[in-house]
């Protein structure tokens, strides 16, 4: 018997009203987050990865964005059908989020300890003194040196990496079971990036929470993620165990992304990037949205939109939305 997933998203669609018309920023995306696992959601700008997270968190920009269909089930409860007030409390208590830019998510005029403590005061009814003590403890937990002294500092007195640690402390305050981190290290220097990824991985293990890491950087999550979900133009195009997907990419887009990253070792060869540019969501190509950029495209790709499906000869949980997935996997074997 398999345990039910912590989060189950089915056929999610999100629509945005823009000056040029309606855009389907997320189009029929389904995925699960299992209890305690780390899922990497990967894609370039416009892929819909952040919008998917916003839909789960109930923070879509209003009134432009709205959920146009699908279900989001958290721990057996349908977040889109339940009483909004109860869902809001659930999102505060059990599902937390960390954003790319900590400076714009922290209030510049309040001391950081007060802001972290607010979580305990508001959600747990803690006293000021208890909330402050809890804030210091959390700051120590996320690796802020001299936490007891710095608890009364303001956000601008911290470096970018330290501010991101403060955001993580706030997200962890209520001991969530699901943490969604949207590009948590993108604005940080590489040495600090490594520190934050390590911290997130350690905290996930210690807390036993599930972690969703949203990023454009295939490298930063390779060490810590269990599974990967790749998105392109609002669709899920490939999913599976992270090593399986990276080593045996079955979607030409995944393969193109891998080939676009310069190596840190090995010979320096000319890069073979995906040609062209991501499509305009207002005027998506017919059939498979990726076909104009795809070296494998055939007439079938221009007519039929492929669905996410198992790939012959690969583990069952490895799925790709490509008519030619087997051919794509085989191509890799020829080259090796």
């Amino acid at each position: 018997m398999t345990e039910s997933p912590l989060l189950s998203v089915r056929d999610l669609s999100v629509r945005f009203r823009t000056g040029g018309g309606h855009v389907r920023a997320v189009d029929g995306v389904s995925f699960d987050v299992r209890r305690g696992e780390t899922l990497a959601v990967l894609g370039e700008s416009g892929s819909g990865k952040s919008v998917t997270a916003q839909a789960v968190m109930g923070i879509l920009p209003k009134p432009a964005g709205e959920i146009a269909g699908g279900t989001i089930v958290y721990d057996g409860r349908d977040l889109l059908a339940e009483d909004p007030n109860r869902v809001r409390r659930l999102r505060g208590d059990e599902i937390a989020m960390v954003f790319q830019d900590p400076l714009s998510s922290l209030n510049p005029v309040f001391r950081v300890g007060w802001q972290i403590g607010e979580m305990f005061r508001r959600h747990r009814g803690a006293s000021r003194r208890a909330a402050r003590a809890a804030a210091v403890e959390l700051m120590e937990r996320v690796g802020i040196p001299a936490a007891a002294r710095r608890v009364d500092d303001f956000p601008h007195q911290f470096s970018g990496g330290m501010r991101q640690r403060i955001m993580i402390a706030m997200a962890l305050a209520l001991r969530p079971r699901l943490l969604i981190a949207d590009e948590p290290t993108t604005a940080l220097d590489v040495t600090v990036q490594a520190q934050i990824m390590r911290l997130l991985a350690d905290l996930r293990r210690e807390e036993g929470m599930a972690l969703v890491l949203i990023t454009h950087d295939l490298g930063v999550v390779a060490d810590v993620a269990d599974r990967a979900l790749l998105m392109y133009a609002g669709r899920a195009v490939e999913t599976g165990g992270i090593r399986e997907v990276y080593d045996h990419a079955a979607h030409p887009y995944t393969r193109g992304l891998m080939a676009s990253i310069p190596d840190l070792d090995g010979p320096r060869e000319r890069l073979t990037p995906v040609r062209g540019a991501p499509p305009n969501l207002l005027a998506l190509p017919s059939g498979c949205s990726f076909h104009p950029r795809c070296p494998h495209a055939t007439d079938r790709c221009r007519a039929d939109d492929p669905v996410l499906r198992a790939v012959d000869g690969r583990p069952a949980e490895h799925r790709a939305a490509c008519h030619h997935a087997e051919e794509v996997v085989a191509g890799e074997r020829e080259r090796v």
Binding site: E44, S45, P145, S159, G160, G161, M162, D189, V190, T191, V192, Q193, A194, Q195, M197, R198, H216, D217, L218, G219, V220, A222, D223, R243, Y246, D247, G256, L257, M258, A259, S260, I261, P262, D263, L264, D265, R268, R270, L271, T272, P273, V274, R275, A277, P278
Partner: protein, 335 residues
């Protein structure tokens, strides 16, 4: 001036750039920030020198000082045989024609009210005599084609292009005056990875076709390795290690370079021999109040008393390339 093939195109010696710190109230100068603190290097004709470092390392200020956007506090910048820090305005103007810059954010560096064709031709207005007015339209279209844009889009405005196309437009503009040196300041950092790879290939093609010399500033070490012939690693306003690309990546001897390399995320870590991960603690020191001696010592696991007393010179160590560490040593795997 002579353009002797063997003399470096750019020669920077002991360059310092400082910014005054002022009090909030009376605007009195209360101290100085040393953004660039004694940097020397040569840039050979036709090569790409990668400049890496984290935020606050001074790499962008160094580039801005070289190009004359910041005033050097001391030191010299010699470009193509001309000493620029003491040059007359006319000489500077001429030199600036030969040195162009490509910025990180193409959108904010392109005038939104001008068409692609006008943006490229703008430089010819400022520097008459490079391209006669009657040729502007054709030349602009040629340049757009050269960087992979559709020449028929010369009448479009920046907002009508995608991010990658705008960066191509920024490159076309930089090439308009047929420069000898192009400084790329995080030129591909804001681009999606598939587009980034396209632009890197374009930069390589342009270098091969036009004999360009690049000073390539980036924080992404995989990208720097990909494009650079030599690499300079900066930390807190100083160059801490400088070598051929392969030396820096295979045989780094400065602890900061080693830490930086060990932190670079690789897409398939399991396919490589296990790497020693050096997790640095703390942050880059404040440039207003740098540590005595070696500026890296506050984060260095090798630091001893000597490091606080004597600033290590950037000089060849272990019979290898220049490294500014008293205790320079090869990574464990090489010992």
């Amino acid at each position: 001036m002579s353009a002797n093939g063997s003399e470096p195109l750019l020669s920077v010696r002991d360059l310092h750039t400082t910014f005054p710190l002022r009090s909030a109230l009376l605007r009195r100068v209360t101290g100085h920030v040393q953004a660039v603190a004694g940097v020397s290097f040569d840039l050979r004709r036709g090569e790409t020198l990668g400049l890496v470092g984290e935020s606050g390392s001074g790499k962008s200020t160094l580039a801005r000082t070289v190009i004359g956007l910041e005033r050097a506090a001391s030191g010299t910048v010699t470009f193509d045989g001309r000493e620029l820090t003491s040059a007359s305005p006319a000489e500077l103007r001429a030199a600036r024609r030969d040195v162009q810059m490509i910025f990180q954010d193409p959108y904010s560096s392109l005038n939104p009210r001008r068409t692609a064709g006008q943006i490229v031709a703008e430089a010819w207005e400022i520097h008459p005599g490079v391209v006669p007015r009657s040729r502007w339209r054709d030349e602009a279209r040629d340049l757009l084609a050269r960087v992979g844009l559709d020449p028929s889009h010369a009448d479009r405005y920046p907002h009508q292009f995608s991010g990658g196309q705008r960066q191509r437009l920024g490159i076309a503009r930089a090439l308009a005056l047929r420069p000898k040196l192009v400084i790329c300041d995080e030129a591909v950092s804001a681009l999606d990875v598939s587009i980034q790879a396209q632009v890197l290939n374009l930069l390589a093609d342009l270098q091969a076709d036009l004999g360009l010399t690049y000073l390539f500033i980036a924080h992404d070490l995989s990208v720097v390795r990909h494009v650079s012939d030599r690499v300079a690693v900066m930390y807190a306003g100083r160059v801490v290690e400088l070598a051929e690309q392969e030396e820096i990546f295979r045989r780094p001897t400065h602890p900061y370079t080693q830490a930086l390399l060990s932190a670079v995320p690789v897409p398939r870590p399991w396919s490589q021999p296990p790497r020693e991960r050096i997790l640095l603690t703390g942050d880059v020191p404040s440039p207003a109040d740098p540590p005595s001696g070696c500026r890296f010592r506050t984060r260095c696991w090798k630091a001893r008393d000597e490091c606080a007393e004597v600033e290590p010179a950037l000089e060849p160590r272990l019979g290898l390339h220049p490294s500014a560490c008293h205790f320079a040593e090869l990574p464990a795997a090489h010992r």
